[in-house]
Structures are given as structure tokens and as C-alpha cells.
């Protein structure tokens, strides 16, 4: 069946400016650019990844949306119609990549931060200390001390393992396989330089990255790919992945063609075989089962590493998080419905889950109501776009935030949502060696480090304007947030007063 789908984008080449250097032909990994006597684009294949546009020395290429002259209809958008055409042609589930792109309200943009005036002075972060150091892990409710015979006081409480972050931002879980080794290398180096953590995702850890063990969260997901005793112990923290914000309740599938020699070794599966992560862990059908896995991991790591459990933000997230903490998790990672993915059914990505802002507020409040907030750190993932979002997330109650999409954008990603094709022109979501080579891990690490540095500086400015000099005084301090354009129920759920109301 020949496709009736019109092209999504139109590639315009200004032939007066084009020098016919063919750089665009070499750069396009989607096979859109052909060269006869001049460059001829095949519009249907363009995904608007901007690779050719970026690298054309003459700036002769522009990509525009193909504005189809469909009869206007508020109910049947061009996208809706095209999706139906696709399914009529293929009979398949629509696949997509990256986070939910739909126009749901972004609550971060309806929250505003306070600042000091007169009675409490704001603090200049360039002149005064401004502390971002954060510890992830289970804390006791109180400390006990003993006094020795010579009157010296010492700590009697044994504190469970804590992971120190110099910036309250960790990199999101992205598996080797979904992303290239260059991405993993960039993330690991940047995490080490910035004093934070990268997350292996569910595809194991390449041996080359073992030296970065102090800056790595190793993930244990339903497929258990690459999980072995040494792997668990080559980490700062272990994470059990129950759910992912982009596809709650859905497993994963790495197609066999991506499983090359290296990935095969890392994941511990044969070359060329599909890596299928089941939707549930088949040994976790209840909270008791989760508790068993948490303690199995703690046994395997000698109780030296915090164990995190990652869940997607779903309706009952607060109660689930409470159960997770009581089951023994030291960290709860909540992933909101705008979180990214390498591949997900579009219907799931676009319709399942709830916004992270509400989930985070509900979880933090629930743990406080139950008096167990100190027992676990909360990491907030899924849709953190800038340091403002980060500051608001921390004020709502997060100990740290996760950046996945933002980190990839720093590495070159243009969010074209074609990660699942394996053709990523930026060397990110691909295993094609000629494409992977495009991402230099040294450059990648530098760009990521710059991003974290920039956000840290901005966060310090926010703390200073709030008149506090330590992140602890922002964390959970919802009094310093106000809502704008939110209904009273949403405000109540967020635990935030409307703008215009004083303390």
C-alpha cells in the first residue's frame, strides 16, 4: 500500500546560496537529502531534526511546517487525521519518542516565587555563601548522642547511607541502547565534574564507565538487563524502576538491530536479539514483593547504598509512595507525565498519568502527614525545563530534580521525537557507529557541566532573593510560592496560596 500521508515538513533550499558541498546530504541520517546535479530533498522523510540546517555553511536550508489546506475543523486537527491515515495503512500502534507534547496546563508556569523586601534582606550570592549541598537517602527522625567519660559528646545514631549532591539535579535514566555510549560517557563525566549522578537506565553499565561508580545510579528494571552483583556495587545508589512517566504501566522494547556486540555484553543478551522489558516486574506483584527486592538489593550491596524506587505519577501516587517508603525505599523518584522516553505508544504517552507538580505536592504532603517524610528523599522527574522549574519543584518538596530531556537538548537533541527510529542525526538516540561518532563525549560533558553550572548559579540567585542561604530553607517551603490563574482546588492540592495573598 503506498502511503497517502502528506509530508509533515517542507525543506526549502535556496539554490542561489547553495554551494553544492553536499554537507547536508552527509548529515541527514533520515535519507531525506539526495544529490543529483543539485540537492533534492525528499520532504516526506524530513523529521525537522535541524541537523542539515545547523551544518549548512551557507545557511541555505530552511525547514517549514507543511501547512496543509485541510478544511478547518477544531475537532479534527491535521495531526488527528494523519494519525488515522497511518493506522489505516499499517494497522499498528502509533509509536513516538520524547515526552508528552500536548497542550496540557504546565503548572510550573502558574507558580511564582517570593522575594525579600526591607524587613528581611535579600542576600548577594556573589558575596555570601550559598549552599546547595543535598543528601539523598533515608534519615532518622531524630539523633541521639552519648557522652563519653571525659565529657565528649558523640553521635549514637547510626545514619543510613547518604549520597551527596553538590547540585540538586541528577541526570535522568536513559539506557545504553536507547541512547549511545557517547551519551552515557558525556553524562558520567559531567556528573563527576559537577558532583552529581547519572542514571544507567535499564540497559546495564558499560565497563568503560565503571571508574565513575561514585556518580552513577544503577537501575534494576523489569528486564533485569545487565544486572549482576558487580554492577549493583559499581554505583552510588541503586534504583528499582517500576514505572516511567512517559509510559506508566508499559514495558519497553529495544529492537534486535540495535543490539550490537557492546550492547549485548552490557545487557547480557545475545547479539541481535530483542530486549523486551515486561510491563510489570514478574517478581513484583505486590508491595511485599517490592520490599523483598529492595532488601535483596540491600543485601547484595551490603547496606552501603541507598535504594530508590522510581514510579510514574499516576492518580494514587501519594498512597503508593507512602507504601514504597514503608517497604524500605530510601529514595522515591516520581516521574511526571511529561517525562521523556525513547519509544512509547503515542496513546499512552499522550493520555496516561498526571502532571508532576500535583504528584510531587501530593507525595510530599502525604509523607509529612504520616510523619515519614524524613525516611526518604523525593526526586522529582518529568518536565523540568529550567532552573525556575527546579526551584519551584524544590519549594513544593523535592530534594532534587531529574533532567533527561533538558540534558539531551544540551547535547544537541532538537526534540524531533524520532528516538525510536535509531536514526538520530545528533548521535544521541542511535547505535549507528557513523552517527554515534558525531557526539564527542568530551564536548558533551562540557556542555552538560555548563548547563548544571548555569542552573546552580540561577538557583543561588533565587535563594539569595528569598533571603535564605541554604537549599534546606527552600525545600518544602511552599509559603514562598504563589499560584496564578489556578482554581482553588488546584491551589489546595499544591498547598499554595493565590498570588496577592500575604503570609
Amino acid at each position: 500500500m503506498t502511503s497517502e500521508l502528506p509530508p509533515e515538513f517542507i525543506v526549502k533550499i535556496d539554490y542561489n546560496m547553495c554551494r553544492r558541498c553536499k554537507r547536508c546530504v552527509m548529515n541527514c541520517s533520515f535519507g531525506c537529502m539526495h544529490f543529483t546535479d543539485r540537492v533534492v530533498p525528499e520532504h516526506k522523510l524530513c523529521v525537522a531534526c535541524q541537523r542539515c540546517v545547523t551544518f549548512c555553511p551557507e545557511h541555505a536550508i530552511t525547514i517549514t511546517k507543511n501547512e496543509l489546506a485541510y478544511k478547518e475543523n477544531a475537532n479534527w486537527s491535521p495531526e488527528t487525521r494523519q494519525n488515522i491515515l497511518k493506522q489505516a495503512e499499517t494497522g499498528g500502534i502509533l509509536l513516538t519518542g520524547m515526552g508528552n507534547p500536548r497542550d496540557y496546563p504546565i503548572l510550573w508556569d502558574h507558580l511564582l516565587v517570593d522575594a525579600c523586601q526591607v524587613t528581611n534582606p535579600s542576600i548577594d550570592p556573589l558575596r555570601e555563601p550559598m549552599e546547595l549541598r543535598t543528601f539523598l537517602g533515608r534519615k532518622p527522625d531524630r539523633l541521639e548522642f552519648v557522652e563519653s567519660e571525659d565529657g565528649e559528646i558523640d553521635l549514637a545514631t547510626e545514619i543510613e547511607p547518604q549520597v551527596r549532591l553538590d547540585v540538586p539535579i541528577v541526570f535522568g535514566a536513559m539506557s545504553y541502547g536507547a541512547v549511545s555510549l557517547s551519551v552515557h560517557r558525556s553524562l558520567a563525566m559531567a556528573a563527576a565534574r559537577s558532583g552529581t549522578l547519572m542514571n544507567t537506565g535499564e540497559g546495564g553499565l558499560h565497563r568503560e564507565l565503571y571508574p565513575y561508580s561514585g556518580n552513577i545510579i544503577v537501575q534494576v528494571a523489569s528486564g533485569r538487563f545487565g544486572v549482576h552483583s558487580e554492577y549493583l556495587n559499581t554505583s552510588a545508589m541503586v534504583e528499582i524502576k517500576i514505572g516511567q512517566g512517559a509510559k506508566p504501566g508499559i514495558g519497553g522494547h529495544l529492537p534486535g538491530e540495535k543490539v550490537d556486540e557492546d550492547i549485548s555484553k552490557t545487557r547480557m543478551i545475545p547479539v541481535g536479539s530483542d530486549a523486551i522489558s515486561p510491563a510489570p516486574h514478574h517478581d513484583i506483584y505486590s508491595i511485599e514483593d517490592l520490599s523483598q527486592l529492595i532488601y535483596a538489593i540491600k543485601e547484595a550491596t551490603d547496606y552501603e547504598k541507598p535504594v530508590s524506587v522510581k514510579i510514574s505519577a499516576v492518580h494514587n501516587v501519594a498512597a503508593i509512595a507512602s507504601g514504597i517508603v514503608r517497604a524500605g525505599a530510601d529514595v522515591v523518584t516520581i516521574d511526571g507525565f511529561r517525562g521523556g522516553t525513547g519509544a512509547a505508544p503515542m496513546v499512552i504517552r499522550d493520555n496516561v498519568g498526571i502532571p508532576i507538580e500535583l504528584a510531587l505536592a501530593a507525595v510530599d504532603q502525604r509523607l509529612r502527614d504520616e510523619g515519614i517524610r524524613n525516611n526518604a528523599s523525593i526526586i522529582c522527574a518529568g518536565g523540568i525545563r529550567n532552573s525556575g522549574d527546579m526551584a519551584k519543584a524544590i519549594a513544593l518538596g523535592a530534594d532534587a530534580v531529574v533532567i533527561g530531556t533538558a540534558a539531551l537538548v544540551a547535547l544537541g537533541c532538537r526534540i524531533c521525537q524520532k528516538c525510536y527510529t535509531g536514526n538520530c542525526a545528533w548521535g544521541i538516540a542511535t547505535q549507528r557507529p557513523e552517527l554515534v561518532r558525531r557526539l564527542d563525549p568530551q564536548v558533551g560533558a562540557e556542555r552538560l557541566t555548563n548547563l548544571l553550572t548555569a542552573w546552580s548559579l540561577e538557583l543561588k540567585e533565587i535563594l539569595g532573593s528569598l533571603g535564605v542561604n541554604s537549599i534546606e530553607s527552600l525545600r518544602g517551603s511552599r509559603e514562598r510560592l504563589r499560584g496564578i490563574g489556578l482554581d482553588s482546588q488546584t491551589l489546595e492540592l499544591l498547598g499554595v496560596k493565590p498570588a496577592g495573598v500575604g503570609q
Binding site: E128, P129, E370, R373, G476
Partner: protein, 375 residues
Amino acid sequence: MRCNCYIPSGCSVSGIMSESGRRQDGNAIIKSITLMHDRANGLGGGFAAYGIYPRYSDLYAFHIMFDNIAAKERCEEYLKDMFDIVRDEEMPTRPGGAYEGVTAGRYEEEGVQPITDPPILWRYFMDVPEAKTRFVSDREYVVGQVMEINSEVEGAFVASSGKNMGAFKGVGYPEDIGVFYKLDEYKAYIWTAHGRFPTNTPGWWGGAHPFCLLDWSIVHNGEISSYGINKRYLEPFGYRMELRTDTEVVAYLFDLLVRRHKLPIELAAKVLASPFWEDIDRMPDRERRIATALRQVYGGALLNGPFSIILGHSRGMVGFNDRIKLRPMTCARKDDMLYMSSEESAIREIAPDLDEVWSPRAGTPVIGELDEGVA
């Protein structure tokens, strides 16, 4: 008796303590706080005094303010159910009283400013019935009752609830409040005082400092910018922040850390005004372990923003500043006396000849303790 307004404050603080437990009347503390008249604006003043009720030293002394007779009746109904009331009486006052002496900053043409229109002020000496404390300690029980009255009994406010101590506070300049409450007739081994400058609302009697719970009293100059998280940190422990003013969290934090979690006062002060990480990293091993653990576990209790605070309790007095000293505090010693004040002049005013005067470093507590053996 609740206030819907948040009240950031300017203010002055002063504290006097005899470490040997010698009791002196309230004239000196009034004189000291009077010198800082201009730091207040007449919208709140108050005092805390320790050792004032030796005859009833085993009983909880509740100073309660009532909006009206109905509130008093409602509250007494409640108190009768919860306590054995040994004695109750109207607080002795000089209605229309005002400080007659010379006051720096008060201009003669303005005349004196007598204290008028007080709420009903009553004090109760009470015992906790044994039957009530089968499952909780009596202090825990008293905290619960204070929280209950302040948030549930309309029109009633417990100003203080400790043993052998009390708070005397209201709307007005502190020197006038002192005269109004006849502080010259009380004798105490610790006196603390506060003159208030709320910047955006009229004060109310309950909102003046000191804030008290059990025998903790807090006078505070500054603003707690971390109030939002301090409040949320305290709530799961059963504290209810009903007064809408940031200072009360300080009293509750001390109650939590020292009484319930049994931290030594020095460590509690390190929680509230913790050392910076760069300093912690340079500490010797044992101290670093302690300081790190305190910050990890008690991050929600860190006080941020400008403050100088004097904490009073039955065994001593503690003065401390925020971590970068955004509010003033000067301390001094003379024989067995320890002085703390917003200004050195307010100490010199009552003790011109001092053994030692110093400005404590940011975040470093100055701790006065009753000598051992002093009851």
C-alpha cells in the same frame, strides 16, 4: 483570639541573667529596654521572667488573655476538665499605667502613653491530674492543652505555660507594658524583654513577644525567611502554628529538639543556625560527623533569614544570631551577671562597669546556665 495578619518585625531585645540564681526586680530590665525605645513603635512589648512564683514552683503557671468574659468562661470550662486548678486570679496590673521616667527617643510633647484597653488577663496555677498522664508525660500533656486552647477556644490565648515563670506582654511600648504589669514587684533570676516594630499591621496582645511554651520563652528581632518549611517540619510532630507570626516556630523548635529529642542546647543551636558546609568540611572528625548528621537530619529546622534571638528557660538563657549575623547582638558579663542585648548601650545603661563585652560571632550561641546546685 487570632490574628489574620502576618507581622514581620524590626524590634529590640534584651536579657539579664544571674547565673548564681540571685533574683532581682524588673526595674533593671525595663530600664535597659527603655533605652532602645526607638527600635520599637509602640505596637508591642513584653517580658519573660523566671523565678517569680517560688511559692507555686511545682505548678504550671498559665498566663491567659481573653477577648471577653464569654471566652474566659469557655476556657475555664475546658481548664477544669483538664487540670486541677490550685489557684486563679486576675493578673495584677496598673490600668492606665505608663513609664514616667526619661525615655530616650520619646519626646516630651508626646506625653506618656498609658496602656489602655487590655484584654482580660488572668493567671492560673494548675496541677496535671495523674489520671491524665498515664500515657504521656505531663509536659507533653501541657503542650497538647496549650495547642488546643490556642487553636480551638475562640477568644482565648495562652501567653505562657511554664513553672515558676511567666510572660508579660501586650500592645504598647515595652517600658509602659512593664509598668502596667507591675514588674517592679516581681523578682526573677532571668529577665528577657522585647520592644516591637511590626511593619505592616497593628499588633495584638497575643502577638507581642515573648512567645512561650512550657518554660521556653523567645524574644526575637528579625524575620524567619524559612518560616514556611519550619512550620511544615513541625506540624507532623503535633505543633500547630496558629499565631501567624514567625517567632513561634523558634519556641516550638527548641521544645522539639531539647525537650523531646533531648539534644544538648549547644547542638540545638547548631541545628537552628548551622555552620556552613565549608566550615564543617574543615572540622575535626568527630565534630564533622556530628555537624553533618545534624544538617542531614534536621534540615527542616534550620532557621534562615535575619534574626537575633534570646531564648529563656528555667535553667538558663541562650542568645544567638543567624548564620551571617544580619541582626545585632552584644553580650556582656559582670560578676555572676550575663547580659545580652540588641545594643551595647542598653547593657551599659544598667551596668556601666562590665568585666567583658563582646559581639558573638554569627551563628555562635552564647549560653548562660544557672550554677549547679542552684534550685
